[in-house]
């Protein structure tokens, strides 16, 4: 029984984490139209920084090297991870968002992601290179002293709370005048600029907030698996987040949730139970990617807006004041009715 609960809680944790990733990408791409092709880099930055903030100083002789090692409590580590991801998002935004063209942006984000990957992988002094960080302490595990399955349930509750806060704030942003301006920029950047919108600044806000979201997801990831190495955040993972958002429906956070469930949870788990063939160890991950790719293509073909389409903004009804100006309206309706 405990095993089943632990398994379901594990799925729940991944569901929450992917939701947060998808919210972050949704703020960047779904709201603002920023083609961020290196989502997963922010997850890594958040995870690593939270990891080295929480780990103790590196021990000589263990052959594991990393910077900082501050032994900080987990809430502080969370803040550090989120802030670091936001800072890297800002730096990439400085280069990528200067130009208006979106293809330029896509290429810059891809390149920046490769650079971060190369540096983290090859410079063993930062986060132990391709070996990665291990043994990152889990929040509250020392205090609670639970068996792994029960701990997973507690951790799920933590993830669910953080995810709910992220969802709430993302929706609030969407409905605000700032969110509306972001969507106007998504629709036509030049026009928004011609209407006095500081498009660079607004896009930078979206870039940084999205990066912080993904960074928070990264912190939860490293806490849950207690380790993080470059193999865990290749370009393929960025693709999974994109697939979740496209399939679920970009521009709305419910779509991001549905997409995370379909792509990151359902497909990941369904393929996990396929019989492994020992001579082809890469077969299952490849099948997984083929399935997700197929799902994206089918979505774009049959329902390009995604499973849950972006909804129209609703305003409270304002009565018309029929005065002198509005008097002409009745005559005009006939012409505009075509």
């Amino acid at each position: 029984m405990g095993v089943v609960i632990g398994y379901i809680a594990t799925l729940g944790v991944y569901f929450c984490i992917y939701n947060i990733f998808a919210f972050g990408l949704n703020i960047q791409f779904g709201y603002t139209g920023i083609l961020d092709f290196t989502v997963i880099t922010f997850m890594a930055v958040g995870g690593y920084l939270a990891g080295v903030a929480a780990l103790g100083p590196e021990q000589p002789g263990t052959d594991i090297y990393y910077v900082l090692g501050l032994s900080l409590p987990w809430p502080v580590a969370l803040l550090i991870g989120a802030a670091a991801a936001g800072a890297v998002g800002y730096l990439i935004g400085l280069i990528a968002l200067r130009r208006l063209r979106s293809d330029y942006l896509a290429i810059v984000t891809l390149a920046a992601g490769s650079i971060v990957y190369g540096i983290v992988g090859n410079d063993t002094r930062l986060f132990d290179g391709f070996e990665g960080l291990v043994g990152v302490p889990q929040p509250l595990s020392g205090v609670l002293n639970l068996n792994p399955n029960d701990y997973t349930v507690v951790f799920l509750a933590l993830c669910a709370v953080i995810m709910a806060v992220c969802w709430f704030l993302a929706n609030r942003l969407y409905k605000s005048p700032l969110g509306r301006t972001m969507r106007a920029i998504r629709e036509d950047l030049e026009v928004a600029e011609a209407y006095g919108k500081r498009t660079f600044r607004v896009r930078m806000s979206a870039m940084v907030i999205g990066s912080i979201y993904v960074g928070i997801g990264g912190v939860l990831t490293i806490w849950f698996v207690t380790s993080l190495a470059p193999a865990g955040w290749g370009t393929g993972e960025t693709f999974v987040v994109w697939a979740a958002l496209i399939v679920g429906g970009r521009g709305n956070n419910l779509g991001a949730v549905v997409g995370s469930f379909l792509v990151a949870v359902l497909f990941n788990e369904a393929t996990r139970f396929l019989p492994a063939i020992s001579s082809l160890p890469n077969l299952i991950p490849e099948i997984r990617n083929i399935c997700i790719g197929g799902l994206v293509i089918l979505t774009l073909w049959f329902r390009p807006q995604g499973v849950v389409a972006e909804r129209k903004a609703r305003f409270f009804v304002v009565p018309l004041q029929h005065g002198t100006v509005a008097g002409s309206a009745a005559a005009e309706v006939a012409v505009s009715g075509d």
Partner: protein
Amino acid sequence: MATETDDFAPATAVTPTDGLLVVAGLARRFGGVQALDGCSFAVEEGTITALIGPNGAGKTTLVNVVAGAIRPDSGRVYFAGQDITARPSHQIALRGLIRTFQLSREYPQLTVLENLMVSPQRQVGERLSVALLRPGRYRAQERAYLERAVQILDDFGLYGQRDEYAKNLSGGQKRLLELARAVMAGPRLLILDEPMAGINPALVDRLSAHMLRLRAEMSITFLMVEHNLDVVERLCDHVVVMAVGRTLATGTMAELRQNASVVTAYLTGGVADVRAES
């Protein structure tokens, strides 16, 4: 009085305070094309000024330079007496100079009402901290904007379409939306790039009526690129004629009809004739 520039040297006669908008000796080259070549004129406050000229005369380029969308190679732009040359578009817009585009460019995936709600500048709810943490602080302003937007939509006969995606409007409705959205920004000067192009005569009359009304009610000054000379004659106080990137003449429509070089430039396409004369 029609002033005719016989030698096409950049006119230096304008000074920054000649009007609400003053354009002085603007030049801009695209590869081998000299799109603007020392264009100068002034738009007086409270007028509806027309900018006419053959295709390729540089009218849209001029609008783009004035609005800060592209940089001039030389020359100056003054708005309300201040030098705004090559300022970023959003800064120029914040000073009250709003332009529309030659092809309708609504925000397609926003509703008609939202298209208007984006326009007001420096909204309280556009600040990140307010948007995320204190949404109560923008409610009152949002409601005021909403009331104004609904009123403007009603004035433009788009009230029934307010919750429709802008991309689903007809061509003529999109032109109306373009103007309604610009009005919502509360501009001092509105530059319209061929607002009447491709719309039926009844709608032309309605748009003209709207412009006259806006000038009277909101004291908006207009600069309008337009090919339809009947509309120009009826609507505009003042006309600027451009050809090959220069100001060919300015004056009222009646004055310009007497002007031989304007007639040739306009009726024959201009470019060859103007070059031959100079």
